[in-house]
């Protein structure tokens, strides 16, 4: 998937051109393109005077970043302790069966990606599922797919 190089440079230029803004730049790229395209990382390495190997290490170290394109709708299932003991596993399994993909994967039609998050801080309303920044509380496992389709 080609990306306009100027767009990439514009995103990178939003932060100061020094190594300490690497994480911020990667997050801006992730937000802009929903993943970290290979050429964007090469541009970042040049722009911030950081070796490409360190940029690649950071892109694979942090959970927020994905090196492969993600679906339009990101479904994040919380697996925090509270959610885990209030049925997050069953919730995740229903989604994996409903969308026929495993956690961390994207549906072939690039519409849905399931991701596991370790805790989103809404433990009082466990189990929690987030569809594109919309929080859903006390999700019963059989209602998961309906909430996803509704978006």
């Amino acid at each position: 998937m080609e990306h306009d190089i100027n767009k990439i440079r514009e995103v990178i230029s939003r932060s100061p051109a020094d190594p300490s803004s690497l994480i911020t730049v990667l997050q801006d790229i992730q937000r802009e393109f929903h993943y970290l395209p290979c050429e964007a990382l090469k541009e970042t390495a040049k722009a911030l005077y950081v070796p490409l190997s360190k940029v690649f290490s950071a892109s694979t170290f942090y959970n927020a970043f994905s090196l492969t394109p993600r679906g339009e709708n990101i479904i994040r299932v919380c697996q925090g302790t509270a959610c885990h003991i209030r049925g997050a596993d069953q919730l995740l399994e229903q989604l994996e069966i409903g969308l026929k993909i495993k956690a961390g994967q994207t549906t072939p039609d690039m519409k849905y990606t399931i991701e596991i998050v370790n805790c989103v801080g809404a433990c009082a309303m466990a189990p929690v599922m987030i569809v594109n920044n919309k929080y859903h509380a006390n999700v019963r496992c059989d209602r998961a797919m309906r909430l996803v389709k509704r978006g």
Binding site: P19, S20, S21, L22, I23, T24, L26, Q27, L48, V50, K54, S57, A58, F61, Y62, N63, A64, F65, Q79, G80, T81, A82, C83, H84, I85, R86, G87, D89, Q90, E93, Q94, I97, V117, N118, C119, V120, G121, A122, C123, A124, M125, A126, V128, N133, Y135, H136, A137, R140, C141, D142
Partner: protein, 617 residues
């Protein structure tokens, strides 16, 4: 609108306070994480729409505003109407018109929205009388749920920035440090290192650059106190950091916020921009010559970055791998400069310590753990939510008096505190006071304040496996005991859960745990085996049940249990539709049957059955 003197600040505070007509109604809609997940933002919009149409805004209603987490998430979405403190629970969009009509205009109370105390069966109007709140004492959460986080005016009128003004204009750095030391404040992140001594050491190191860092990573699953403070009262964190900057002489501060808290980043940034505009950040603060600015550093999503040296690497734009802290970060931290790193809650508490004095703070709580601590109650408990209690309160008071016990009348089994570095304490430990040292002696740890309550439907071996799986995923992978040791510990724990382990597997796990605790480079590894060690210590019989009788008393480990439908089944087809492997057969209104060969024991049927018709052996 630059405030460049104490007098101007005090005058501003009086103006704000005078502007509010205390007789008029003030509506506060809770937009904390829990209520937000239940759609409280829609309710706020509805209030604004209804009030705008009615054009009564100026007569009876002073303001409609959003607040941070009010605390009682289980009863969310929450609406509070001041000055009476009317506490409406589980408010829906269609209730808004009634509330405006009845309560705001006619002053009537809508009883069906009130909280009914399960013990006394009495309806309580004013939230301050509800047991959930009356047992609490809020210091770091003093403004959370009371003020609008986006309004610096709200914060100032509640007394905000007065401590900063006092520190900057009438206290020397050493006096500020002495006051914090006298208060006995210990780090709220969980390590409990005396904050006064940390500031003193850092101030004593010769350097022209020092950093103040606020640790908002809160990676512990099941903990959301920091999130609520950052989202609900961001200015208190800024004020705490400015006071610290004055104490140690720093020009630059960072707030490290985890990637999973986007709203906290937004609210903090709004607060920073407002503080800069008012001159509380930037050059020559309050005309005292202190130059100090704060930048937000967004985490990338790594639990290990809660550890201070890994966090500093992440702020410097590198991979979050901890370093051996034989040279402490107060001497050489961020970019090898002296750095003070404290937790969100610690900074939010500092202004109160300066305003009310160190002795007052030391008088709260216990001798060695002074002041109060915020906890997030979650898991199998009726009153899930955010609380703050003095140190020394017992677990029983928190779980039963405030938390109102276990739902569906099930039996309490364990309380998990301290997240993946903490442990699980059984029923006979409920009378232990909660503070830094007592829980640690009992094999768990107070930690950052996450408290997850477990009932008899939880398997403690599976909980240990869950934490080990979490740590294997979150370990940075740098040192051998943690990368390899925790992985092997996890593999062995999984073997126990699948009933294929032997007793000397258990013994080798205990031996391996010792090496991981002593050998690991950072806190993640050193405390990684704690959940396993504490569950083996208090629930050894469950481990032996898995190993010897291949049984799972909690009914969770999939390889060791079987699901059967009993005669309470009403034939509602709910479980039949949800079963992923179609192992359930039966017609509508007839008792269904689970084919135990096909069933892969995923537990979906048990989750959806509302008639308690499924037994687990």
């Amino acid at each position: 609108m630059r405030v460049d003197s104490v007098e101007k600040l005090d005058r501003l505070r009086d103006d704000y306070r005078k502007a509010i007509d205390t007789q008029k109604k003030r509506i506060a809609v809770c937009l904390g994480p829990g209520c937000l997940a239940m759609g409280s933002d829609v309710i706020l919009k509805e209030f604004k729409k209804v009030l705008a149409d009615k054009k009564i805004k100026d007569v009876t209603v002073e303001s409609v505003k959003k607040t941070g987490c009010h605390g009682f998430c289980a009863r969310g979405p929450l609406v509070v109407i001041e000055p009476e403190g009317i506490f409406y629970t589980r408010v829906k969009k269609n209730h808004v018109a009634d509330i405006v009509e009845k309560t705001l205009i006619n002053g009537e109370i809508i009883s069906k929205l009130l909280y009914i105390d399960p013990q006394s069966k009495k309806q309580i109007t004013d939230y301050r009388e509800i047991p959930f709140y009356s047992h609490q004492q809020r210091i770091s959460l003093r403004n959370v749920g009371q003020i609008d986080p986006d309004s610096i005016g709200d914060y100032i009128s509640s007394g905000g920035y007065s401590a900063m003004a006092k520190a900057l204009t009438s206290m020397t750095s050493q006096e500020v440090i002495d006051e914090v030391t006298k208060s006995g404040l210990r780090g709220r992140g969980g390590a409990g290192f005396p904050t006064g001594r940390k500031w003193e050491t850092c101030a004593g190191v010769e350097s022209d650059t020092r950093y103040v860092i606020c640790n908002g990573d809160e990676g512990d699953p099941g903990a959301f106190m920091d999130r609520c403070i950052m989202e609900g009262d961001p200015h208190s964190v800024l004020e705490g950091m400015i006071i610290c900057a004055h104490a140690i002489g720093s020009r630059q501060g960072y707030i490290y916020v985890r990637e999973e808290y986007p709203l906290a980043v937004i609210n903090l940034q709004t607060a920073i921009d407002a503080a800069r505009e008012y001159g509380f950040l930037g050059e020559n603060i309050l005309g005292t010559g202190l130059n100090f600015d704060i930048k937000i550093s967004r985490g990338g999503g790594a639990f290990v970055c809660g550890e201070s040296s890994a966090l500093m690497k992440s702020v410097a734009g590198e991979v979050g791998e901890p370093r051996a802290k034989y040279i402490r970060s107060v001497v050489k931290g961020l970019r090898d400069q002296p750095t003070v790193l404290n937790n969100v809650e610690s900074f939010a508490t500092v202004p109160v310590i300066l305003n009310k004095g160190g002795e007052w703070f030391a008088s709260v709580g216990t001798k060695k753990s002074t002041g109060t601590k915020a906890f997030s109650l979650a898991g199998k408990i009726n009153n899930t939510g955010l609380i703050e209690v003095p140190m020394g309160v017992t677990l029983r008071e928190i779980i039963y008096d405030i938390g109102d016990g276990i739902p569906k009348g099930r039996k309490f089994k364990a309380v998990q505190t301290g997240g993946p570095s903490g442990g699980c304490l059984p029923e006979d430990k409920l009378d232990l006071p909660v503070d830094f040292d007592t829980l640690t002696e009992a094999g768990s740890m107070m930690g950052s304040g996450g408290m997850v309550i477990m009932d008899d439907r939880t398997c403690m071996v599976e909980v240990a496996r869950y934490f080990l799986e979490f740590l294997v995923f979150e370990s940075c992978g740098k040192c051998v005991p943690c990368r390899e040791g925790l992985y092997q510990l996890y593999r062995l724990c999984t073997k126990i859960c699948e009933g294929e382990a032997t007793e000397d597997d258990l013994e080798s796990m205990e031996r391996l745990s010792k090496t991981i605790q002593i050998g690991s480079l950072c806190g993640l590894g050193q405390s990684g085996p704690n959940p396993f060690i504490s569950t083996v210590k208090y629930f050894r019989d469950e481990y032996l049940a898995h190993i010897r009788d291949k049984k799972c008393p909690g009914g969770v480990c999939r390889k060791l249990i079987t699901y059967r439908i009993n005669d309470k089944c009403t034939g509602c087809l709910a479980c039949l539709d949800v079963c992923p492997v179609d192992a359930i057969t039966g017609k509508k209104k007839e008792i269904h049957v689970i084919n135990t060969e096909i069933c892969d024991r995923c537990g979906a049927c048990y989750a959806v059955c509302t008639f308690d018709a499924i037994d687990i052996e």
